[in-house]
């Protein structure tokens, strides 16, 4: 029966699509309708069936991380990370507000760019996904059992954390770097035109606890004042190395468009992080002043709290030889990507006419032979000819990022000519090219940046949609395209709008994550200090002008739901415990006049929202999530009386 249903549904869909195609393009004899039907079939996931992959798209200026199923491109979730989310109460609830604290105060927005999974032996293990905040430099960890942000770590003495969050083979480190060089010394006040004397770059190595996933700033490396753009961890033979691109080696501080594009070559930075770690453990790093926040959600209470750190370990390449090298690379390179074997280092020279490909083994030889052009701040510059393995000719205009399919092919996104170019890692010759709609940034292959990608799908993340969809005004959503890369030619399957501005994305086989996803928070494990487990403990307490309401929710009432004795000027905390234990039975809470948004409370969870009543009167509150047939009845009232009123504090539900 289920199979018949599926066939019926597929048939209806195909007929529908066919009909649409025919209305638009005429009868099939005159058009390529069969191709469209074929593409539709390859992305069709029947109702009730699951996608093969989870895909995580960065939200860019939305500060979020959106979750999609592939190949259907159905959106599954939008995870708030660096931005307040009025939908869920993230960043509004008392439990989550500390996650957005920084040394600059509460910052409810950031620009999230590059997600990367935790890894075991080079393969994503589905435990956590990390993402960077570029603006007020931060790195976040999202727990993939709950799809919620669990931790945010600020990067000290950094100007724009863009080359992040690339993860090493066994999640030893998450990479970070300064994109916009600034004086490394904390809060240093200098003339901007003293750039060359006073500004610095820095690279950050964030350690991850293998059990808890907890992040810590292990050490930083001070660098010349270039701009550090993107990064990657090595693989296999190069696993102990991290790579970054630089631009603005010209050291311009104004009109970079012109002045940072003068040199023919900038550098790929190769850092032997294992050696750096040894130097740090030997005590070669200096402890320097810093000021940065570490915000962590407690697993048992669900409450985030902040720790402030005031120092960081800094390693200077001048005190740490044989650890870090520059590989000259044309021209203002953007992405630096390592092929699945760990041998090739591909740079996207966005102003270059070729794609330069360095060889890791030749790099090691060049280091042994000391094939150095010069030494800058203790960092040897290797000779270009000594490390280069080949240059891809005619790659299009503005190559940015490269991904790999594990069968010896590389795929490079090319921004200006708006296309994806497929080329061979054997002879560096272009094999195929396909249009991107329009102006492609990153691209992503399922199975991702690993020694063993899945040659199935590729997603192009493009910057402008123009005429691709029904128009929605001068600003439109950023699109993505899904391609099938299993054959010799790349084939476009689907074109769809996304959330925010996805920069990079990751996709992982659904089976790695799905079995571990939680359906409820177990009430027995809820250690929130203000949780109420049973309605008989529900109550209201006053301490001066602070009032705490301990409230339960279950279909379809709040306990208590009538509260009197609140006064103007009180600070009222509603501690809501959803005592449901059934999957996806979410309740919400909102009260008239609250300037803090709503909260959504998952089954078994406790969430808190604060309310400052300003005027006397009767205030309705209600469940914002349609939870049951009697959802409309799930409401209550708070009576607010004047300052100094003698209305006693009382509460009730029903006639009790």
């Amino acid at each position: 029966m289920a199979q018949k249903t599926t066939i019926w549904k597929i048939t209806s869909l195909l007929l529908g699509l066919g009909l649409l195609a025919m209305i638009m393009y005429g009868c099939p004899s005159q058009t390529g309708m069969l191709d469209t039907r074929d593409a539709a079939q390859r992305v069709y996931v029947a109702p009730g069936e699951y996608d093969e992959y989870y895909a995580f798209f960065s939200g860019g200026y939305s500060g979020q991380l959106s979750v999609w199923g592939l190949p259907s491109a159905r959106m599954l979730r939008n995870i708030p990370v660096f931005s307040q989310d009025p939908e869920s109460g993230y960043g509004y609830s008392e439990e989550t507000k500390p996650l957005l604290m920084t040394s600059y105060g509460f910052i409810p927005w950031d620009d999230s760019h590059h997600p990367d999974f935790s890894q075991t032996n080079g393969m994503p293990d589905g435990r956590w996904i990390f993402i960077n905040g570029n603006n007020t430099p931060r790195v976040a960890r999202i727990d993939l059992t709950t799809f919620e942000t669990a931790e945010i770590l600020e990067l000290p003495n950094t100007g724009g954390n863009h080359a992040s969050t690339f993860v090493t083979e066994n999640t030893e480190y998450i990479l970070g770097a300064t994109r916009f060089s600034i004086p490394y010394e904390m809060d240093k006040d200098v003339p901007i035109d003293s750039y060359k004397e006073n500004f610095d770059g820095s690279l950050s190595f964030i350690a991850v606890d293998p059990e808890s996933g907890e992040m810590s700033m292990d050490f930083q490396i001070i660098m010349p004042p270039y701009h550090y753009d993107l990064g990657r961890a090595g693989k296999g033979p190069s696993a102990d190395w991290a790579f970054f691109t630089t631009y603005n080696t010209e050291q311009a501080h104004t009109l970079l468009e012109i002045y940072a594009s003068e040199f023919d070559k900038d550098y790929v930075v190769a850092v032997n992080w294992r050696k750096a770690q040894e130097y740090v453990r030997e005590g070669r790093a200096r402890t320097v002043p810093a000021n940065y926040y570490h915000n962590l959600k407690d697993k048992n209470t669900g409450i985030a709290s902040s720790t402030v750190h005031d120092e960081v370990l800094l390693l200077d390449p001048k005190d740490a030889p044989d650890m870090i090298y520059f590989l000259p690379t044309p021209k203002s390179p953007h992405g630096v990507d390592i092929d699945p074997t760990g041998e090739y280092i591909v740079a996207g020279g966005k102003l270059a006419t070729v794609i330069p490909v360095h060889s890791f083994s030749r790099m090691i030889e060049a280091i042994e032979n000391e094939a150095f052009e010069e030494v800058i701040n203790g960092i040897p510059v290797l000779e270009y000819e000594a490390t280069i393995a080949g240059e891809v000719e005619n790659p299009g205009l503005g190559p940015l990022h490269t991904e790999f399919d594990g069968d010896g092919n590389a795929y490079t996104s090319v921004y200006i000519s708006s296309e994806i170019v497929k080329w061979s890692l054997e002879n560096f010759e272009v094999l195929d090219r396909i249009d991107a709609y329009y102006s492609i940034g990153h691209l992503m292959i399922t199975g991702g940046d690993t020694p063993n990608p899945d040659r199935r799908y590729m997603v192009g993340l493009t910057k402008t949609s123009r005429d691709r969809f029904l128009p929605t005004g001068p600003k439109q959503l950023h699109p993505a395209q899904l391609y099938d890369i299993s054959g010799d030619r790349m084939e476009l399957l689907l074109d769809f709008p996304t959330i925010g501005e996805p920069h990079y994305a990751q996709a992982i086989k659904a089976d790695i994550i799905r079995p571990n996803v939680k359906q409820i928070y177990d009430l027995d494990e809820n250690k929130h200090p203000h949780a109420v487990m049973r309605p008989r403990d529900a109550r209201v307490e006053r301490d001066g002008n602070v009032v705490r309401v301990y409230m339960t929710n279950i279909r379809s009432h709040f306990t208590p739901d009538n509260i009197e004795g609140i006064r103007v000027g009180d600070e009222v905390y509603f501690h809501l415990t959803n005592i449901e234990q059934d999957w996806d039975m979410v309740h919400g809470f909102a009260i008239k006049g609250a300037n803090s948004g709503e909260v959504l409370i998952a089954p078994g969870e406790t969430k808190t929202i604060v309310w400052h009543p300003q005027r006397t009167g009767i205030y309705p509150f209600y469940c914002t999530a349609f939870c049951s047939a009697l959802h409309q009845e799930m409401q209550g009232y708070v009576r607010v009386s004047a300052v100094g009123s003698d209305v006693p504090l009382t509460w009730r539900t029903g006639e009790e």
Partner: protein
């Protein structure tokens, strides 16, 4: 009705296709699942994971005490012993229903409401479906003993 709409849509689509001279014949599939009739056991003892009589034995006071704790946590949002609240009073439920029936209702409330005539009648009266509360079968047996203890002695072990 939905089926009729589907068939109509299909006919319209087919007509448009055949207009292009390459029409295909397709049999509309029957998509309705017919629910099987309830068995004698299900009518008497409910629909759910318990499909045969359980030998839970005589009232066990220790079990009843544990049941009181779980009842307090998972049931009191909606139930009182002596009067109607969100759901029905439970003081005498063990005299009207078998332990198996009560356990199936706790463990499988949605299907009991949708498919069992007693569940359907309760929905008509109380207008709400009992939430699934992730109670284990062992805990459900303990709740039954808590309710049996109350029915037999009139004493509420939560007090």
């Amino acid at each position: 009705m939905q089926q009729v709409t589907r068939i109509l849509l299909l006919v319209i689509m087919a007509l448009i296709y055949t207009g292009c001279g390459n029409g295909e014949e397709r049999e509309p599939a029957d998509t309705r699942d017919e629910a099987p009739e309830l068995t004698e056991f299900e009518l008497e003892h409910g629909i759910g994971p318990v499909t045969e009589r359980l030998d839970i034995g005589d009232l066990n006071v220790e079990r009843a005490r544990r049941g009181a704790e779980i009842f307090d946590l998972r049931c009191t949002a909606c139930h009182r012993m002596d009067r109607r609240f969100v759901g029905p009073p439970l003081g005498e439920v063990t005299e009207a229903r078998s332990p198996e029936f009560i356990i199936n209702f706790i463990l499988n409330p949605e299907e009991m409401t949708n498919r069992h005539p007693i569940g359907q009648a309760l929905l008509q009266e109380y207008m709400t479906i009992m939430p699934y509360q992730n109670v284990s079968k062992e805990q459900a047996i303990e709740i039954v003993d808590f309710l049996r203890y109350y029915a037999e002695t009139g004493e509420d072990l939560r007090d």
